[in-house]
């Protein structure tokens, strides 16, 4: 029952494409035969009730599931025509090109500067590191707040600042795609607002896939939305359609808050 969700990507080239993707944790199947296309330079939101497999699906996109004990993946994820799960693909390289921001801010217990510089450093970055750090912090809308405390511990920043630092850290690696797993769920409304504004700006240069529990947030920031339910992709399309005129009844009852 392969349901291929051919969507109108509005002329955007595909940045990432999942084909018949299934994920198993031991016997339990957490993602069931999902196929979808992520258009480049768009924000795609993954929505659905808790435990429906959003994080699992997201982690497939940069092979973070490799690190989960007992996870098994079937199907393909195409990135520039290459299946990320081919045996000759190096997961480390994949993660350098497809970055990830996590639910809880998780800066390293180091200075602000060292956090932003970590990614470039481990890749043997040769250019001007100071410039790159500044550029990344600016891109994450954090520079003005931290420019005079670059050598302070990242733990002295507020939660929202820490999360933007984590975004900056990811941007410093210059990925093409940024995956975000509920990046604002641990933050207050003002910090959330900042992250949302930021995502809107980042879209110019990056493709963004974001998991969110917050329907208003999904409606505000995403161009496309995918509704998952119990591991299945129920509906996928332009966010407007998903929120105002969904085809599936289950989608409608979820986005209107009747369950989940």
């Amino acid at each position: 029952m392969a349901t291929v969700h051919e969507i109108d990507t509005g002329g955007h080239a595909p940045a990432l494409e999942a084909r018949n993707l299934s994920v198993f944790y031991g016997e339990k199947q957490a993602v069931k035969d999902v196929s979808l296309v992520i258009p480049a330079h768009q924000v795609v939101a993954l929505i659905g009730p808790s435990g429906c497999g959003k994080s699992t699906l997201l982690r497939c996109f940069n092979r973070m599931n490799d690190l989960v004990i007992g996870a098994r993946i079937e199907g393909e994820v195409l990135f520039h025509g290459q299946n990320l799960y081919d045996s000759d693909v190096d997961p480390v390289e994949v993660r350098r090109r497809i970055g990830m921001v996590f639910q809880k801010p998780n800066p390293f217990p180091k200075s602000v500067y060292e956090n932003a510089a970590f990614g470039p450093r481990i890749q043997g970055f040769k250019g001007d590191l100071d410039d790159l750090v500044e550029e990344s912090l600016r891109a994450a809308a954090l520079w003005d707040e931290v420019s005079d405390r670059l050598s302070e511990s990242a733990y002295t920043l507020s939660g929202g600042q820490q999360q933007r630092l984590c975004i900056a850290r990811t941007l410093a690696v210059k990925p093409e795609i940024v995956l975000m797993d509920e990046p604002a769920s641990a933050l207050d409304p003002i910090a959330t607002q900042k992250i949302e504004d930021l995502i809107w700006e980042l879209k110019e240069r990056y493709t963004i896939v974001i998991v969110t529990h917050n329907m208003q947030q999904a409606a505000r920031i995403s161009d496309y939305a995918a509704f998952l339910y119990m591991g299945e992709l129920i509906e996928y399309g332009p966010t407007d359609t998903i929120f105002t005129n969904p085809k599936e009844e289950r989608t409608e009852s979820y986005v209107t808050g009747r369950f989940g």
């Binding site: 808790s50 994080s55 982690r59 690190l67 004990i69 993660r95 350098r96 996590f102 990614g119 481990i122």
Partner: protein, 348 residues
């Protein structure tokens, strides 16, 4: 919920855990038949008066003190006193021991004591050979045991697949930590002194002591590595770090204070060891300092053992002096360990 992204070792999924909103609200009201009755009465009363909320019954502490309860309290008090007494035994014996040693030994310690070799004449005897031997032993053991243990701990925590082999290794390390030290002496004698032909050298001794403290350092290091939050590993991998980069640049630096604390405590145990060194045939009367790892040696505990086993009172006092030096060394090492631990706790 908690996603368990793990680089190796165990999966730390807390499956039974409910998220906050799933949990039932805490009910702090007293329960029990009596309470139910009161509530029922209150509800009736409320029904009559038409008030909205039944009022909570007042909680009367102590009103119900029965014989059983009084006995429970007495027992509790007795247990408290017993435990405090047990703790005092430890403290008191340490005080007595220290007092005795200080009384006997303090007068012994002067420059000559530290810079003279052992001698048949008590006035001329010193601990130079033993002190230098102990320092050699300490350094060699650290150099051998530290990389081996930390390597093993990193492998077990970050690399090893979850298999029965890993479990077996893990169990055996825990078991090894409980093997009596004399057994390691026998092993050292057979393996290092005889089979490998290293003789009764510092190196044989250090290898033996390394084996002895290996499991202790491995376990402490594993503990420290495990305490590094998974989110740090995820962050590193998410930025395209290889496993080794994640371990070397993020996990190890965070675990290092814990690892060092464990190592220092284990080393201080090694410095105080006597039995395995007697077993491998270390000398107890040495009038030279070792020049290299293959030289023969003595260490402070052996020198002390030698002196206390002599009949003359003067040698007993020399032993007390040597004990003081050894104690100072051990306390200094433990002090460093405690300092590291405190600093580490303050930072996280």
């Amino acid at each position: 919920m908690a996603e368990s992204v793990r680089s190796g070792g165990r999966s730390r999924r807390r499956s039974g855990e409910k998220s906050l909103d799933e949990r039932e609200p805490l009910d702090l009201r007293p329960r029990g038949p009596q309470h139910a009755e009161i509530t029922a009465l209150a509800r009736e009363a409320v029904d009559e008066t038409g008030a909205e909320e039944p009022r909570e019954p007042p909680i009367r502490l102590g009103a119900q003190t029965t014989l059983g309860e009084r006995r429970r309290r007495t027992l509790g008090l007795a247990f408290h006193v017993l435990c405090a007494g047990a703790a005092m035994v430890g403290v008191l014996s340490l005080v007595v021991l220290l007092g005795q040693v200080l009384h006997d030994g303090l007068g012994q310690i002067d420059r000559d004591f530290l810079t003279s070799f052992a001698s048949r004449i008590p006035e001329r005897a010193g601990i130079k050979a033993a002190l230098v031997g102990s320092l050699w032993m300490l350094a060699l053991t650290a150099v051998i045991a530290f990389p081996l243990s930390v390597g093993a701990a990193i492998y077990l925590e970050e690399y090893a697949p979850k298999s029965w082999i890993t479990t077996t290794i893990q169990t055996n390390i825990a078991n090894l930590a409980g093997v009596p030290s004399i057994v390691y002496g026998i092993l050292g004698l057979a393996l290092f002194v005889r089979a490998m032909g290293l003789g009764r050298s510092l190196l044989s001794g250090a290898l033996t002591l390394s084996l002895l403290i290996l499991p202790v350092i491995i376990l402490a290091s594993q503990e420290a590595i495990r305490a590094v939050p998974d989110s740090i590993r995820q962050a590193a991998y998410g930025l395209g770090a290889t496993r080794w980069q994640a371990v070397r640049l993020q996990v190890l630096p965070m675990a290092l204070p814990g690892i060092l604390t464990g190592t220092i405590l284990a080393l201080s145990r090694a410095v105080g060891e006597t039995a395995p060194l007697i077993m491998i045939g270390a000398l107890s009367f040495v009038a030279f300092t070792p020049q290299g790892p293959l030289d023969q040696f003595t260490v402070l505990p052996l020198q002390i053992f030698n002196w206390v086993s002599r009949p003359q009172e003067e040698f007993r006092q020399l032993a007390a002096g040597a004990i003081l030096v050894l104690l100072a060394m051990l306390l200094a090492m433990n002090g460093v360990a405690i300092f590291l631990r405190n600093r580490y706790q303050r930072r996280h």
